[in-house]
């Protein structure tokens, strides 16, 4: 393959394979057993990964200090697979979450993540270290996602209202009320009777994810980084180029709508 040009992300064979297997998964709800062997015919290449605990504990374990990440990037650039795998483990979960908040189709989200990693590989030599590695990767993901969304219209739903507080006007006394203008006219449930297990159920979490993915882009970015990823406001402002005030406005609108969606979800499930 000497002299072959770096393939367009759209023609990478591994990517297509993933896409196909993802489709199968979507249709059958099952993962084809042949997938892994097909993708890595050279069994030795498959990274050693014990089937140990995953999830938040694993995510914490894989989070790297920044200076270490820079050297990982340099090593990956030189062809070190271990270094690359470490980066993949550290960042893929967050990239996947970010992609899934942008598109509703999980298989499409995974394709976007794969394209992001391809773009990261191609851009390794251009990474200047002015931003953190995760910010750089999220920026690349945003570009990849925007391109795909433009190509596959309709993935992102739009919301009509952009400036409401998520609380219907009718729940407050009108401005003409002699005594209680602007005050609640209805009771508000504090959700103290809602058990934690209910909030963390698959149904509730997917309702929240849907609500976030339906937000306008700025609000979606801010809430995804602040409340899902747990970034500080300073980090988010730096990453997105926002003032503190603007960041708060976007965050407020986003949280308000997600709260409203959660309220609808909880009420709907009750009745």
């Amino acid at each position: 393959m000497a002299g072959r040009r770096v393939p367009d992300p759209g023609t990478g064979s591994s990517r297509l394979l993933w896409r196909r297997t993802a489709r199968i998964e979507r249709m059958t709800g099952e993962r084809p057993a042949v997938m892994v062997t097909t993708m890595t015919p050279e069994g030795a290449r498959r990274p050693e990964r014990p089937p140990g605990p995953t999830g938040s504990a694993a995510a914490t374990r894989h989070r790297l200090p920044q200076w270490d990440e820079r050297s990982m990037l340099a090593a990956a650039r030189a062809g070190d697979e271990q270094a690359f795998t470490t980066l993949v483990r550290a960042h893929t979960p967050a990239l996947r979450r970010a992609a899934r908040l942008r598109v509703r189709d999980d298989a499409l989200a995974d394709e976007i993540v794969q394209e992001t990693w391809l773009a990261v590989l191609k851009g390794l030599s251009r990474f200047e270290g002015r931003s953190s590695v995760r910010t750089w990767m999220l920026t690349i993901l945003a570009h990849c996602a925007d391109r795909r969304i433009a190509a596959e219209r309709g993935s992102i739903p739009f919301t009509a209202l952009d400036d409401d507080e998520g609380v219907d006007e009718s729940r407050f006394h009108g401005p003409d009320h002699p005594r209680w203008a602007g005050m609640w006219s209805t009771t508000v449930d504090s959700w103290s009777d809602v058990p934690e297990s209910r909030l963390t159920s698959r149904e509730t979490l997917s309702a929240i994810r849907e609500a976030i993915s339906a937000l306008p882009p700025g609000q979606r970015e801010v809430i995804a980084l602040r409340d899902v990823e747990g970034w500080s406001s300073a980090e988010v402002c730096a990453a997105l180029g926002l003032s503190e005030g603007n960041q708060r406005v976007l965050l407020h609108r986003a949280r308000s709508k997600v709260r409203a969606a959660l309220e609808r979800h909880l009420e709907g499930a009750q009745s």
């Binding site: 393959m1 393939p7 999830g55 694993a58 894989h62 909030l199 959660l262």
Partner: protein, 82 residues
């Protein structure tokens, strides 16, 4: 200084939580919430919404997906070498 309305509390809740209010407004916010159970309930809802959004972070790392990405790395490395 007049009492803030419930509607204003709803509008200011994020500014309050994020430390974006000046001290006078902050005091008025607290004066209201202390005597207003529905606003306290709304406040609790917001807090729980934020905490629940954070639960979306606990997504398993998918070893097969990781393998697919490392395969991309192999392709890329072969291109570089090739």
């Amino acid at each position: 200084m007049s009492l803030l309305t419930c509607k204003e509390i709803v509008r200011l809740v994020t500014d309050y939580v994020e430390g974006g209010l000046d001290s006078a407004t902050r005091a008025r916010f607290e004066d209201h919430v202390v005597i207003c159970p529905p606003c306290r309930a709304h406040f609790a809802q917001m807090r729980r919404t934020i905490a629940t959004a954070g639960r979306l972070r606990e997504v398993d790392v998918d070893p097969e997906f990781e393998t697919a990405i490392v395969a991309l790395f192999h392709d890329w490395r072969d291109e570089q070498a090739g």
